[in-house]
Amino acid sequence: MKGLGELERSIMDILWAENTPLTAREVGRLIEDRDLAPTTVMTVLDRLARKGFLNRTRDGRAWRYQPAASRDAYVAELMLEALDLTGDRDAALTRFARAVSGSEAEILLKALTELEEE
């Protein structure tokens, strides 16, 4: 049995891979872990919807779930923060180094070449 976090992840992956809204039953069929109780799938879908990662629409007696944003959008959001491009300069993350541009990059490139030759 996978952890809840791992399950959330695989369910998101399934919904991102399918381009159409799915019901809990359909998600359960696509999931690798066949022993999973249908209620567990429903619980996780509900959690993800409450966190805002899934949108759901009524379909008869069931709900259909669909990702609120694409995977790439989330990666972009993470990396904007990681590269400190949000313009915030907050202390949420500690970063290794920032990329530079223009003449400064040339100086760094020269230093790198020198270090590699030595």
Partner: protein, 304 residues
């Protein structure tokens, strides 16, 4: 009136010392000591400047800031009789407002930071993967170079897929040792109050420079930790590769801020290390910081 004058002098000394410290280069030879001095200066400046205003306002009580303030709050009687008292009233309002701002800001910044981290953590859980080559590190599929630490009770070190391709294994090891130092020493907590102050006073060059100095010192402190565990040269080349990895086009409306030459300063330090500051000097600075940080609270108690 003596307490007010001494506190005002102390606040001025702190401001001048902070200004001088932004130019100082000895700090690079002892980053951790310098960080402590910065913290002490910041704290003392805040307490001294608010204390000076309050001590002046509460002078007639002759009981010092702490007890004078307690008496004023209990009696709610300020006694405005002559024009001079309006000046004191103004100082009281200014002092209390400044104190409120200095306490509320770091708290608000802390709450905002926690929210940002929570969101970041949630997203990471959904899109980051584990990579057998780098156990314990989260990898995000992104072609650019990125390596950072998401601090918290369970800190996470995150790198981009692009970083794996950009760096050799020895360089990657050095970067991870650097990030592990951030995690262990909770450098995010050092940066938080300075980031909060900067947000409060965005126009102040001194505050901006102070934040930049502390940011650089924190990186240097982590570099020092990393070089104890791996080759400093590899850390230097990793820094240079990061710096020259084609900077992505800056998204609209976002600032591509980078402190000029900070990367080069770190590289120079790693490749041509200077002698560390002598232990006696470090001890003196340390003792000075402690004396400074305890002086302001004591002056808050000084009557008259």
């Amino acid at each position: 009136m003596i307490a007010a004058a001494v506190l005002a002098t102390l606040a001025t000394i702190c401001a001048v010392a902070a200004w001088r410290l932004t130019f100082a280069r000895w700090t690079w030879r002892a980053p951790r000591t310098a960080i402590l001095l910065w913290q002490s200066l910041g704290l003392t400046w805040g307490l001294a400047s608010t204390g000076a205003l309050l001590a002046f306002a509460l002078d007639p009580y002759r009981k010092g800031v702490v007890h004078g303030l307690a008496e004023f709050l209990l009696s709610v009687e300020f006694g405005v009789r002559q024009p001079y008292d309006y000046l004191r009233l103004g100082a009281l309002v200014a002092g209390l407002s400044l104190l409120a701002v200095l306490v509320a800001l770091p708290l608000a910044a802390g709450a905002q930071t926690l929210r940002a981290r929570r969101r970041h953590r949630l997203l990471l859980a959904l899109v980051a993967r584990d990579e057998p080559a780098v156990p314990g590190v989260r990898v995000v599929d992104f072609p650019g170079a990125a390596a950072y630490c998401l601090p918290g009770l369970k800190s996470q070190v995150v790198i981009s897929d692009g970083t794996l391709h950009l760096l050799s294994s020895a360089e990657l090891e050095a970067v991870l040792a650097h990030e592990a130092a951030h995690v262990r020493e909770r450098h995010d907590l050092v940066l938080l109050p300075f980031a909060a102050l900067r947000r409060a006073l965005p126009w102040s060059k001194l505050v901006r420079d102070a934040q930049a100095s502390v940011e650089l010192l924190v990186e240097m402190a982590a570099d020092d930790r990393a070089r104890q565990r791996c080759c400093p040269r590899r850390l230097a080349t990793a820094l240079l590769r990061f710096g020259t990895s084609a900077a992505l086009p800056t998204p609209q409306g976002a600032l591509g801020v980078s402190a000029p030459s900070s990367v080069m300063a770190r590289v120079d330090r790693l490749v041509r290390p200077e002698v560390a500051l002598p232990a006696a000097h470090r001890f003196l600075i340390l003792a000075g910081s402690v004396v400074l940080a305890t002086s302001a609270p004591l002056l808050w108690l000084l009557p008259g």
